[in-house]
Symmetry: none
Amino acid sequence: MHNAKPLPTYLVQRFQGWKATSYAENSAWYRRLASEGQHPRAMIISCCDSRVHVTSIFGADTGEFFIHRNIANLVPPYKPDGQQHGTSAAVEYAVTALKVAHVIVMGHSSCGGVKGCLDMCSGNAPQLEEKSSFVGRWMDILRPGYDRVVERKPDDMARALEKESVLVSLENLMTFPFVRAAVESQDLSIHGLWHDIGSGSLECYDPKANGYVVV
Amino acid sequence: MHNAKPLPTYLVQRFQGWKATSYAENSAWYRRLASEGQHPRAMIISCCDSRVHVTSIFGADTGEFFIHRNIANLVPPYKPDGQQHGTSAAVEYAVTALKVAHVIVMGHSSCGGVKGCLDMCSGNAPQLEEKSSFVGRWMDILRPGYDRVVERKPDDMARALEKESVLVSLENLMTFPFVRAAVESQDLSIHGLWHDIGSGSLECYDPKANGYVVV
Amino acid sequence: MHNAKPLPTYLVQRFQGWKATSYAENSAWYRRLASEGQHPRAMIISCCDSRVHVTSIFGADTGEFFIHRNIANLVPPYKPDGQQHGTSAAVEYAVTALKVAHVIVMGHSSCGGVKGCLDMCSGNAPQLEEKSSFVGRWMDILRPGYDRVVERKPDDMARALEKESVLVSLENLMTFPFVRAAVESQDLSIHGLWHDIGSGSLECYDPKANGYVVV
Amino acid sequence: MHNAKPLPTYLVQRFQGWKATSYAENSAWYRRLASEGQHPRAMIISCCDSRVHVTSIFGADTGEFFIHRNIANLVPPYKPDGQQHGTSAAVEYAVTALKVAHVIVMGHSSCGGVKGCLDMCSGNAPQLEEKSSFVGRWMDILRPGYDRVVERKPDDMARALEKESVLVSLENLMTFPFVRAAVESQDLSIHGLWHDIGSGSLECYDPKANGYVVV
């Protein structure tokens, strides 16, 4: 692996700052986490987007959240075909090995992945339809959500589809036998959130209202 | 989606705290990020493990890092077969759409995924060999790394394989044509790190030394 | 321009060192900054003093801060008279063209400019009163601050006036219509800091306390 | 001053990192700088642009450089009219009070201020011609430079004018009697640089060649 480069200096400085402050103040806790292993309370599935860090929004302490981040916070349907499914592996590990009490899926405004799906499904992004487009094939997971928002006014569709990305993931989560079993035995609860970057607001899906309510 | 539950109260409280402090103090910045979109400098690929948050270690400001987190910070080889590859989609989006300047892969100590791979490859975890094991199939990506550490002393193997998980990912990254092209044109640099949870130390892969050096 | 001399050798050497390390490791980022332009998050107005570099104190990455430095970190009142106002031009560019989210004014201990103002206002520096004194005329901006500290004990006056230099600048900033509009629409926030060189401490102005609090 | 906000959290963290590392390792030096005052070797006049920090490029140690930063690194002509001239005040303080040995003016590629001047002088930015435009009036300083590049090919003009911004500043510096005297007595030397952000290269004005040479 001869292409790797040293860590950029600005990150070295920041790491040294963290080491001298946050780590130094909590080294006993870090050592205990290292020796005892992790016992996170919740799994959070959110987007890779640089503007949305659940560790900030929820003041995440080290050891609390098992966090999977992918494009558009999607969970594919259960499909044990022997192929590589990174998201399914993360869900399996969180629910069956770590036995988290919550799985939280969080979408957000201005999501580039959802925007791509919208363009693709409405015929405006033929390049995303190509077999070789990893983003396009990944966003196929959200196609069922598109069918549910296609009647909306054009201005409302992106936001509606962002919120559908959460619901599609929650629905797909329930297709995993070990998730369904844990939910039904009340060992696990699942939650759907949507975050607005600009206003800082957070909305939670409420099945009774069949919609999102502001937290 | 009738199974979703409200957000747990402890997270509601933390969100309200974030809203009243970090968000309130930086609302201008959040609004600008919402309207202008993201321009992250780096993509970071790290593990879902709850004890390792790069946002803390590198004091990540909102908007700086595009973060993909999966089990054992793995990147699969390039395989444009029309199937769903979440990690490949994230890499494609970061490099071709966001044009990040760095892709940083960070492994860590006490990695449960790597431990599972070690058990599986050494014949001690037959359940992970099953076709239906998402974790097992995901950890197949690391099998080439196992072959390189199998001669090690038993006590050293887990750590060695954690470090291999980074190198295998860097190698696989280079099989993506758009990654290779960007690295060769010097528009992108790739970096490999390994973090020790208990001691708080950070090591960076140095191709000249063919090993890791402490940052 | 026949008077210019070559770059001193010690600076040539340092530049070559930077080129071979920081630049080489981050060339992808520098090239992207060159092609995409700057999107700084904050404008910082600080003193020219060689002992106070906000780039160090805040670990400034390239591209993060738009930095204006003048004597005593002063902002003059809004005065669109067609004359040359370098500070006003910098504020105008940062707020209206770059749309920064923060303007941070930082003063510091042992400020020579503030000391000159104190001497001038207390009648001990007649040369600074002269029309031809650029420093004296520049420090006129701080005269309203002098009136607010004149009752202090002599030993406390310099420090008090340094802190006033920040507040006068914040007040003057709000006389610019485009600054006031951006603050009122919450697209911009303004911040006042004072840094102690010897102890390394940093204080932030808190309007509720009507004073500075240690960060 | 009731509008000021607390320091953004990400800067608090970075400051704490600096305090615990750079400051802690050098506290004796910082205390000495505080008690003895500054004795910088050089004054540097550079642009506010967030992509160009001379503190990085020249590995500036605390106490070495007295740095003035304004839009497009401009020095206006000597004009002791009793008005506020922030740049002239900085030059006066550096040369007559601090008695620096060098004044270095550094321009750079992709300069937004120079671009504005080019647009204004070629009739494409009428808003910059208005009396109320602080940026426009500030860039008037560079008009004599425009006349010297107007015959260039359109693609070359921006870069040529960036380099002229340095020469105009050096010429204007020499109109200050105390600068001219110090240069003529060889107590002061002046230097002109131009930095290319993307390639990281640095060029120095050479009066013998009447042009810039790569450092």
